[in-house]
Amino acid sequence: MTLSDTIAGLLGLNANDPLQFGIAAIIASTIVGTFMLVNVAIAGPWAKRKITATFTDRIAVNRIGPFGLMIIVADAVRLLSKELIVPEKVDRPAWDLAPLVIAGSALFGFAVIPMGSGIQVADPEVGLAYVFAVASLASVGLVMAGYASNNKYSMLGGLRAVAQNLAYEIPLVLTGVSVVLFAGTLQLGNVNAANTIVGAQQATLATVGGIEIPSWYAFVNPFAFMLFLVANLAEVGRNPFDTPEAPTEIVAGYQTEYSSVYFVLMYLGEFIHIFLGGAIIATIFLGGPAGPVLPGIVWFLVKIWAVFLLTQWARSALPRVRIDQLIEIGWKGMLVLSFANLILTAIIVGVVV
């Protein structure tokens, strides 16, 4: 049962009627969308500052509200009420649409992610292919922003963004489908549905000292998990792979010329993207929303915030790679390793079955 079906049932709507089901699905989507935006609102203006401050031995926001949490409201009002400066000779439709594409496409991915406790908008048979497809739509937005801004820094940033996403997209997808070799389906499903990616991870892998270890694919194939983590860091453009933005080289890359609400949307899109990356990692490698004692949604939050913490840690601790190093790591290192991983996984499955 997906959330859309549950809501349709609660409201007494007929799930087989497209219009009635659509209404239920819009309510479900609004719940999921708002839920993710709340996460991003906490992560962006507050948690990110607090985490970086802790790493660099500072205090950061602490003036408004408990722990400075009300800075979220203050910053939202401040940023939305800034003047929107439209630079000379920007390509108008593309320049306006880019923030929309970046922020929107990141949200699309959450349609198929099982968040536990029955929260999942839809569960199509090709869920994994869908989520990879929409996650990479953001690259189009980045190129639009970079090319339309009429700024040389933006142009270089857009080019770097697309080169980086091209270099890491294939290792990401190849490593991602290596779990499909175990599961035999692209459907993400939920904890209770056996023949799905999440459901297949609930079987017991081994029993150590009376504790049952589930067959999460991070335990079954740690090599693929590590590869995917690195490729994901590059895909969301965080350190050490934040070359498209590289503040010390090209100012802010593709977002140099954006102000006001467009700036907010670019940042929003990036943060939703980090959480989407975390959600994909949690779903295909960390058993989805499964976990002991606590309800599924709590475990889902724990897992996506753990990935967010990892990206912030990398941001504070690792130096940025150069663009030529980035291309070499992607094409010479990650691609070869992901091929090796795919064949290795196929051989392991062949031997086990």
């Binding site: 400066i85 000379e88 922020a103 933006s154 294939i170 949307l265 196929a346």
Partner: protein
């Protein structure tokens, strides 16, 4: 069970309405003080020189070409991963399930090796950058 693609379409609609709504709210809140001076693009405080359509490294073009090849290859690998396990469980031999894919990936890896040797994934330096490097 409703059609999952209707639900996905609903989320796509909500996912677009949220940013559009934010743009609307901002439009109500923000001031508008048009002035020619602040509209010039940022170029470290200088008046921008020349056009934005600059010459850039050919490497970006090379990796884009490579990507097209390997992206089509991932599309072809997807269906194989889905049927692989059930084919093995139904008694199809490893040579018939894994063998053809090994050949396929092998051909691609040879292609990657060729591109590698030709320098398609090696960062191209301009002759000027090379002489500057030697002079140092």
């Amino acid at each position: 069970m409703g059609n999952p693609w209707i639900a996905i379409g609903a989320l796509a609609l909500v996912g677009l309405l949220i940013p559009v709504g934010m743009m609307g709210i901002s439009k109500l809140l923000r001031p508008s003080v048009p002035e020619q001076g602040k509209r010039s693009t940022y170029e470290s405080g200088e008046i921008p020189t020349g056009d934005t359509r600059i010459r850039f490294n050919i490497q970006y073009y090379m990796v884009a070409l490579l990507f097209v090849i390997f992206d089509i290859e991932t599309v072809l690998i997807f269906p194989w991963t889905v049927i692989y396990r059930s084919a093995l469980e139904n008694g199809v031999s490893l040579t018939r399930t894994l063998g053809p894919m090994l050949v396929f990936i092998g051909v691609l890896v040879v292609g990657l090796g060729w591109a590698w040797r030709n320098g398609a994934v090696k960062w191209v330096r301009s002759p000027r950058a090379e002489t500057q490097k030697d002079a140092r």
